[in-house]
């Protein structure tokens, strides 16, 4: 009931009655604390289908892992959760993605607002090349007109600490973001995403370009972050998915084959293809 009330409040005037209806269903399906949910989501690139009819819940304080062989649509799905497809040429999205019960693809919704609530971290670290470490972290605040130096300093420190990078860079916040190592750059990208205080964090293979040590730092970070955020992680690394996630979705050929608690999926998958993939028979 709480969730419903909160949803209504958050939804505000923009959301029609119609988009609020699905909240009941969230209550009914027994997964508490659902933050986001996709409904019959289909993404097409021109005539090629990226993912089709994906319905998947994303819960608060939980890590949701998306696994599956290359080209199965994990990243496509992830990017649709904060409207990154808007700038992809030829990409069309149909179906709904609900954030707190509100369809983010509703024509009246501004994608910029969505992206401030749903942050994304990409596979490759992407520090802004001309900015210092400090400016990289606070870019999402500074560039929208927040000038309060004290606030920016606080945010920068908090975000860097959350991303477990603060101690390594605290003495050189003014050096260029590109001067950091690959693993540090990735944590800088995470700090930058956290600085705007999103509610959901999407991670697209965040450790695939990192060495084992940096990877394990980022995994620790995921454990830490999940106390306050809903996290979705796409990964090729099945062990990693097993270690960090609470729920797992298995994608194959653009479809969601199976979704459930990670423990159950890993030990007793309901679908044969899931089992085959997890045991290394294909993929």
């Amino acid at each position: 009931m709480d969730i419903m009330l909160k949803n209504k409040k958050l939804a505000g005037a923009v959301v029609s009655e119609k988009t609020n209806i699905p909240n009941k269903k969230i209550e009914e399906n027994g997964l508490p604390g659902i933050r986001m949910e996709s409904r019959d989501l289909t993404v097409k690139y021109g005539t090629v289908t990226g993912v089709k009819n994906i319905s998947l819940p994303i819960c608060n304080e939980k890590v949701t892992a998306l696994i599956g062989p290359s080209g199965c649509g994990k990243t496509t799905f992830l990017r649709s959760l904060n409207r990154m497809h808007d700038i992809t040429r030829n990409a069309t999205v149909s179906g709904e993605v609900l954030l707190d019960g509100r369809n983010i693809y509703h024509p009246k919704v501004n994608p910029v607002d969505i992206r401030r609530k749903v942050g994304i971290i990409f596979q490759k670290p992407t520090p802004f090349p001309t900015m210092s470490i400090f400016n990289n972290v606070v870019a999402g605040l500074k560039l929208v007109g927040i000038k309060n130096k004290k606030l920016l300093n606080e945010v920068c420190e908090r975000a860097l600490k959350q991303a477990a990078l603060f101690d390594e860079v605290k003495d050189r916040l003014n050096s260029p973001g590109g001067s950091l190592s690959g693993g540090q750059q990735q944590r800088l990208s995470i700090a930058r995403a956290l600085a705007i205080e999103p509610e959901v964090i999407l991670m697209d293979e965040p450790t695939s370009s990192l060495d084992p040590q940096s990877s394990s730092k980022i995994e620790d970070l995921i454990h830490e972050l999940k106390k306050n955020y809903a996290i979705v992680i796409v990964t090729h690394n099945l062990q990693q998915a097993g270690r960090v996630s609470d729920n797992t979705g298995f994608f194959y050929l653009g479809e969601l084959v199976e979704f459930g608690e990670t423990e159950k999926i890993y030990t007793n998958p309901a679908n044969k293809r899931t089992e085959e993939y997890l045991t290394g028979k294909f993929g």
Binding site: D113, G119, F122, T126, F128, T130, M131, L143
Partner: protein
């Protein structure tokens, strides 16, 4: 068995190879030759006419030069600076905007039309751009002016700036834009604050190349800024009245019947050459210096 005598011998292939390399060397020399000849010829002929007066005196009437009184081209150099600056002030924002549209908004309705029109404008003879400025500004104002010259040169610069801006922005990886959008920045802000600073060197180089190209144009200035033998009484005369520019003064000195003016023409050539070559060298140096990998 295959008959190997049908194939070329090693000796023949070597000969053929040498012939092709010789052909390429010839082309290379033919490309370099005009520039070397121009520089050499202008410098040899003009160096004797270079003197202090050239940079301090105005031209005046032909009689002045024929009587051996001091004449110079200070009004021409100042005029060139004014007209070229006016042109870049007009062209930079317009060309930059068009370049951003070409690079950053590929889905926009106007994008394909802009691309065709921009390329056409780039290939259009400069004298027609002068004609456009004549019709748009000289006729309504009722006088030749530095302003109309500035517009004419701006039309030369705009398509060059648009294209160079596009390629400078396109060289920045798409992931930078996504990273900007991902932290909830609006698209224009992403371009302005993350893509453009990264592409800064390329953008500046584009401006310089466009500037140098336009600075050497004489044709569009003939019936816009027109030319003037004297410094105006007031500096606004450079913008609102007829004003001298180096390429067009070079032309009128060269076709004049006076020997003294021919020499002055060579001097004008050196000054123009020095100006344009300096700009291109700066542009080249900036291009080499990379600030993003």
């Amino acid at each position: 068995m295959k008959n190997f005598s049908e194939h070329k011998t090693l000796w023949q292939r070597n000969l053929w190879d040498r012939f092709m390399v010789a052909l390429l060397t010839f082309s290379t020399i033919m490309v370099m030759l005009p520039l070397l000849i121009i520089i050499g010829y202008v410098v040899v002929n003009g160096i004797s006419a270079l003197n202090w007066d050239l940079f301090t005196q105005e031209l005046g009437s032909p009689a002045r030069a024929m009587q051996g009184k001091s004449t110079g081209l200070i009004h021409t150099m100042l005029g060139t600076a004014v007209v070229d600056l006016l042109a870049i002030i007009i062209a930079a924002p317009v060309g930059l905007g068009a370049g951003i549209m070409l690079s950053e908004y590929p889905d926009h309705k106007l994008n394909p039309i802009l691309r065709v029109i921009n390329d056409t404008l780039n290939g259009m003879p400069a004298i027609l751009k002068g004609l456009l400025a004549f019709a748009l500004i000289v006729k309504p104002m009722g006088t030749f002016s530095g302003l109309s010259g500035g517009f004419a040169l701006a039309f030369v610069m705009i398509p060059i700036i648009a294209r160079s801006t596009e390629s400078a922005l396109m060289s920045i990886p798409w992931s930078i834009r996504e990273a900007g959008l991902a932290i909830g920045l609006p698209r224009w802000r992403v371009v302005l604050s993350t893509v453009m600073p990264a592409a800064r060197t390329g953008l500046v180089t584009g401006f310089l190349i466009a500037f140098a190209r336009a600075a050497g144009e004489a044709a569009p200035l003939m019936f816009t800024s027109f030319g003037n033998n004297y410094l105006p009484n007031h500096w606004t005369g450079m913008i609102l009245g007829p004003v001298d520019t180096l390429p067009q003064r070079l032309y009128s000195l060269a076709i004049s019947p006076y020997k003294e003016w021919h020499e002055l023409g060579w001097a004008a050539g050196i000054v123009l050459l020095g100006f344009v070559v300096t700009l291109f060298i700066i542009a080249r140096m900036l291009t080499r210096e990379k600030n993003y990998d």
